[in-house]
């Protein structure tokens, strides 16, 4: 469950989010859309407590995030799985090790890891590549590994920041089917995207942000024209440090 109450976050002079209230219930599938610089990444970083809000309340999976002590941040993040546009796999670890890594971090036993990792690899349909390295995989396969890593600790929420941004349409759709399947199993999915066709066809709840404000929140289509959608790409991710060119 993700709940924002009148949340404001500014960066010096830039508006990040302005008086945003959102309620995403358990099991929801939500697209977060909007032009570049609208505040989508800010929204995600507030959920992860990478940023502190200037005003308002944030409640994630029953944890009051804005007052959560720093030592409980790991606990918060373990209840959230996260997937990025650029996959962020470790190049010197195999597929299996990349996923196992997320479990090692949470102090799990080798026995647990040996049991759990193959299960989640088979869920994302990449069991046969368990011993390969990321650079031996296609983009779509790498994203599956990233999703497996995000899921292996059984988070209640899966956040995907433009997960199909680096993928061709076929692979994008495969990832979407996977996310939908994960959602059906009960995981809340929050996906940031500029892919108009995907949002249109999926027909899920769509939240649109512009200039830090929610301008639309309803079930249905992407809501922007194709030309606008193109302007939305070339986004900054991860706090605006890196630019991704398609």
């Amino acid at each position: 469950m993700i709940k924002f109450e009148n949340v404001t976050k500014n960066y010096d002079t830039n508006v990040g989010l302005e008086d945003v209230s959102i309620n995403i219930d358990k099991g929801n599938f939500v697209f977060l859309v909007g032009p570049s610089g609208a505040g989508k990444s800010t929204f995600i970083r507030l959920i992860l407590k990478e940023l502190e809000p200037d005003k308002g309340n944030i409640c994630i999976n029953g944890m009051q995030v804005n007052t959560l002590p720093n030592r409980l941040i790991p606990q918060l993040r373990r209840s959230i799985g996260i997937v990025f546009q650029d996959f962020r796999l470790l190049p010197n670890k195999t597929v299996f090790e990349n996923v196992a890594f997320a479990m090692e971090i949470t102090h799990q036993s080798a026995r647990n890891i040996r049991r759990q990792v193959p299960q989640v690899l088979s869920l994302v349909g990449i069991s046969n590549k368990a011993n390969m390295y990321p650079n031996q995989l296609a983009g779509g396969e790498q994203q599956r590994v990233a999703i497996a890593r995000a899921l292996v600790n059984n988070p209640t929420v899966l956040i995907a920041d433009e997960p199909t941004g680096n993928l061709d349409p076929d692979n994008s759709w495969e990832i979407m089917r996977l996310l939908e399947q994960i959602n059906i199993r009960g995981t809340t999915v929050l996906m940031v995207t500029h892919a108009k066709d995907i949002v249109d066809k999926m027909n899920k709840r769509v939240i649109a942000i512009e200039n830090g404000r929610i301008v639309r929140d309803e079930y249905g289509d992407y809501g922007y024209k194709e030309e606008d959608a193109r302007l939305h790409t070339g986004d900054y991710i991860g706090g605006g440090y890196r630019k991704y060119v398609k």
Partner: protein, 298 residues
């Protein structure tokens, strides 16, 4: 907990090897630092020991009596001195006995040079052995109040001078050590900074997946400690080698200078190894903590 420990140690060793060039550079500089420290240490300990031995030879106070002081009044003095807790032994030394001893000791070959003396130049004296050198002064103070005394001799001042020399040697060692420790911490922290930087992607992912800060720090801390331990072992080995050679050379050439000889190799190197290990580990740990402060503050 055990799983994390295994993970931490495994990762730390991998880091040390992956970053071999820098690890070796850090090991070299810490080892060099520990060796300099070791040289200082062995010298200081040996000199201190020598001085302790010398102190034993100088824990006497000698009261020279005037010629007119009778044996009876000397006896009352001796009685009073014997009552003091600082005094271990007191005895009266007749000037004729003293002369005889003196001539026998120092001028055994040509004792006849004193034959021509009409009068014994030495005084009668009371010879006191004090329990420890530091009490000599107190005993002398009491003796000053006696009548019929010519002068009081004791060696406190010369021993004090020696003590001052060791004291400044020790201070010098401390300052040099502090300086070297600081440099070593900087070198280690630079090495670890490189690993942290090389792994910043991994660290970022770890944070997203919910690793605790200590879990992230663990391998880096351990990396520093491993570097420290390797340096300590290396320098212990080298110091043992060098010190045993020096001790051997000493016992052949110059052992007659000291009554007791240098501190035994086993004792010295055993203690030094522990000091090296403690220092190496602290330097390694401090180095990694310093390097991680800026990188892992969230």
């Amino acid at each position: 907990m055990l799983n994390s420990l295994k993970y931490t140690i495994k990762e730390a060793f991998m880091q040390v090897f992956r970053n071999a060039a820098m690890s070796i550079a850090s090991i070299f500089s810490i080892t060099a630092m520990l060796l300099i420290l070791g040289i200082f240490f062995t010298i200081t300990v040996n000199i201190s020991l020598a001085i302790e031995n010398v102190k034993d030879d100088f824990d006497t106070v000698s009261i020279h009596l005037l010629d007119e002081t009778t044996y009876e009044s000397a006896s009352t003095m001796i009685l009073q001195l014997e009552g003091m807790s600082e005094v271990e032994d007191v005895h009266y030394l007749d000037k004729d006995v003293a002369l005889e001893q003196w001539t026998n000791d120092k001028f055994a070959d040509n004792a006849d040079i004193f034959d021509g003396l009409a009068k014994n130049p030495l005084p009668n004296s009371i010879e006191i052995t004090v329990t420890e050198l530091e009490s000599a002064e107190k005993v002398a103070e009491v003796a000053k109040t006696f009548d019929g005394i010519e002068k009081i001799n004791y060696y406190k001042e010369s021993v004090d001078k020696l003590l001052k020399i060791t004291e400044s040697l020790r201070t010098g060692m401390m300052i040099t050590m502090g300086f070297l420790v600081l440099i070593s911490i900087l070198v280690v922290s630079n090495t670890i900074k490189l690993t942290v930087f090389a792994r910043h992607k991994e660290i970022e992912i770890m944070k997203y997946v919910g690793a605790t800060n200590w879990f992230i720090r663990g391998p880096f801390l351990t990396e520093g400690i491993i570097i420290g331990i390797i340096s300590a072992l290396l320098s212990s080995g080298i110091v043992t080698l060098i010190y045993s050679r020096v001790v051997k050379a000493f016992s052949m050439d110059v052992s007659w200078l000291l009554d007791t000889g240098p501190v035994p190799v086993g004792f010295m190197t055993f203690n030094l190894a522990w000091i090296f290990l403690a220092l190496g580990i602290s330097i390694g740990a401090c180095g990694s903590i310093v390097s991680m402060r800026r990188f892992l503050d969230t």
